[in-house]
């Protein structure tokens, strides 16, 4: 396995997440598409660390650890916001949240 295998896999996963964020209109699905993209980025960190010249420094796992913690906080706040929005609009369809567009 070379570094390229992992990088291309991470790029593919990122694009799958991107496609989800582009095409879906459910706020929760968009949220977990963003999670897929974040995880692809974490895979990049770990792959670069594994194939680096000095893996004993542990920069990759350390950054990934912090990224996972921040992503967990982001999911919690994001879902709380989805629930708050649902309470207001009675839907999680992103296309119907267009209050600012109305004149």
């Amino acid at each position: 396995m070379t570094l390229h295998h992992y990088l291309i896999l991470a790029a593919v996963l990122f694009c799958v997440g991107l496609m989800g964020a582009f095409t879906r209109r459910n706020a929760i699905v968009v949220l977990f598409s963003v999670e897929i993209m974040l995880n692809a980025a974490n895979l990049n960190f770990i792959a670069f660390w594994r194939y680096s010249d000095n893996p004993a420094l542990l920069h990759g796992p350390m950054f990934t650890l912090f990224a996972i913690a921040v992503a967990a906080a982001e999911v919690a706040v994001g879902l709380a916001l989805v629930i708050a929005v649902y309470r207001h609009f009675k839907t999680v369809d992103l296309e119907s949240m267009d209050t600012l567009r109305e004149e």
Partner: protein, 173 residues
Amino acid sequence: MNEVVAFWILSAVAVLGALVAVRKRNLIHGVFALLVFFAGLSGLFLLLLAEFIAAVQVLVYIGAVGVLLLFAIMLTERVAGDDDRRMTSRGWSWGLVMAAAVFVVLLLPPILQLPSPEAAQPIKPSVEELGHKLMNPYVVTLEVLALLLTAALIGAVTAAQGVRMPKEENSPE
């Protein structure tokens, strides 16, 4: 050769899980496909000898984030999820084209320009060293992260609780 086989199986699991999670109309099924994706990614971390990150991935993503997503779905949308008219094949193909364009134009050229080392050097298990590093050079980051998690907890509770209306309190239920 075992590593190669494991890589292809795990990457197939991860990509298929992500695709099903993104495309599935039923949200509950989508979340379970997302959990399969997280599990495949955790296996890939294990393959890259980042055993602690693999464990954290299982604990945080499959454990906490999965349950959180399931609860959010139960609290909001009908379990069946989107109905038919919201997922036209036209919108989907445009999304596919955009994602493919980003992959080919933005992501692939820089990857192919990188040198690709064939064999990675062997490394020792890193959990103990990771713990030491968290205590010595990274302790400030750890504390800031703890602060961030506390703030996120309070913020999530406040946001999900919403503004309490006076008439809500007067209602019998």
